[in-house]
């Protein structure tokens, strides 16, 4: 992909800028679609219909209309807010979640940057989001926002540990951080996927990674940072218009990032579940995106199933359940890998 662009444009900077924009062509439509999808899923799970009128067929254009409205809205910055940080925060949050896309392999032929520490890069760059959220909450000069931001930071930092340990368990099997190589190792059908290797350790790792990732992207049942009933909307209470849209966009972009990591590490990423059948660069994109969307669907499914956890319950799940179990998984996989070798 990069070579093609470099060859066609004869201009390094333009080629790299275009290369960086490619995932945006997925992220923005995905966010628009996912918001609509979430509304439809939530509606149908509650025996409602959700948006039905905008655009004709089942209200497909609802989120497009919403974003057009958000773009037109007045840009309000509260008088007591810390102006510079308030303006900067949404960009930082979005940069943090978008930067992760650089190392996500969409297909055998396309990954933004072929880093040999791709996974490590994603995990560390995602931590930038926390800084942005804290910044947003602090700069808003609003108690709810600050509460939300602090809860968010506490939650993300404490759940980074089990998440990182679960990813480490997978990395111990693959022996590499390179996302593209991790994918290539899982080629050859559904039983080569890491989730079915070293059973049940990596299966457990995937479940725990998924639970931890829910907390990392502040989704129900771990959505206490933006608990509507207690904190209005948490760190983005004071945001409106385009800045709010940007925060929302990065929230959904983050959802897909964690789904993409889960699908790359455990579900074979762009590899076809049928071995060589239906595989290739373009089918790779299809498989990768559909696996990601499946995980996003489960995230939404859980959101409309479970109530919100209390803070103490959240900490209990994180420190007393996920961390010990992820240590068990790491040890189990470690012994297995060493013993088999």
């Amino acid at each position: 992909m990069k070579e093609v662009l470099l060859g066609a444009l004869h201009n390094d900077i333009l080629a790299y800028v275009l290369m960086a924009l490619v995932p945006l062509a997925w992220v923005v439509p995905f966010a628009l679609f996912a918001v609509w999808w979430e509304r439809k899923i939530s509606a149908h799970m509650q025996d409602r219909l959700g948006p039905m009128r905008t655009g004709g067929w089942h209200g497909w254009a609802q989120t497009v209309a919403d974003i057009l409205k958000l773009i037109q809205k007045e840009d309000i910055i509260p008088a007591a807010a810390d102006r510079k940080l308030f303006i900067l925060a949404p960009y930082l949050v979005f940069a943090g979640s978008y930067a992760a896309y650089a190392a996500i392999p969409f297909s055998a032929a396309f990954v933004g940057s072929e880093l040999n520490i791709g996974l490590f890069y994603i995990v560390s760059i995602s931590a930038l989001v926390v800084v942005g959220l804290l910044m947003a909450g602090w700069a808003s000069n609003n108690k709810w926002s600050l509460f939300g931001a602090m809860r968010s930071a506490a939650q993300i930092i404490s759940y980074e540990i089990p998440v990182a340990l679960c990813l480490l368990a997978a990395v111990m099997v693959t022996g590499t951080f390179d996302m593209q190589q991790i994918n290539q190792m899982q080629e050859g059908g559904i039983f080569h996927w890491l989730v079915f290797q070293k059973f049940p350790f990596l299966f457990l790792a995937m479940i725990m990674y998924f639970i931890g990732s829910l907390a990392e992207v502040n989704r129900t049942p771990f959505d206490i940072p933006e608990a509507e009933s207690e904190l209005v909307a948490g760190y983005h209470t004071e945001y409106g218009g385009m800045r709010f849209a940007l925060l929302f966009l990065s929230e959904y972009a983050n959802m897909f990032v964690v789904a993409a990591i889960a699908s790359t590490l455990f579900l074979g990423g762009w590899t076809s579940p049928f071995g060589d059948f239906l595989s290739g660069p373009w089918w790779g994109v299809f498989w990768f995106l559909s696996k990601g969307m499946l995980i996003v669907f489960v995230q939404m499914w859980l959101r409309w199933t479970l109530p919100r956890l209390r803070v103490d319950q959240l900490m209990e799940v994180g420190w007393k359940v996920l961390i010990p179990f992820s240590f068990v998984v790491v040890l189990g996989v470690g012994f297995w890998v060493m013993a088999v070798r």
Binding site: I41, A43, H44, M45, Q46, D47, R48, L49, M52, W301, L302, W304, T305, L306, K320, V321
Partner: protein, 199 residues
Amino acid sequence: MGTYFGNIWRGIVTILIGMGVTWRHLFTPAVTIQYPDVKVKLPERARNRLYVNMDDCIGCDQCSMACPVDCITIETVKSTPDVDLGLTSVGTKKRLYVTQFDIDIAKCCYCGLCVPPCPTECIVMTDVYEFSEFDRNNLIYNFATMMPHDVEAARTRLAAYEKDQAAKKAAAAKPAAAPSAPAVSEPPKKTPPASDNKV
């Protein structure tokens, strides 16, 4: 230790049960009714917008008096004996011109108390409930069918008739006072005044 693993197990199982519930509901037909496209059938005798059949209204003002929020305004002009306003569909003779019959439906509380007093059953509650307006004044419904010049004509005719009657009364009283004749036996004759019969 047993409760620790038991709690985790229970957590997993109950989450799966909950997910099963939401999964089933995902495919349950929605209860939502797509309102402007699909409408729920109203029950019989549903009380919604008022309608007045002016052909049957005798201007008795009973509905207006029954109304607890005073949303009905009726003004009438007496007809003169030479004019026949016709009968209502239930056979009541109409004696009054109904010059104004306004219902401020914005005030109406849909109690339906105006309906039973009506002697001719001309005021009814219909099943129409979609009558929102952009201007509040459009919610004052004018049911009166008379044109302003007809109202004026009726008023002048009544005034002329009453003046005529008063003059006759005075004329009858004067001779009766002077000769002290037996005026009691003969009441003043009600002669229809010669007026234009254009109504």
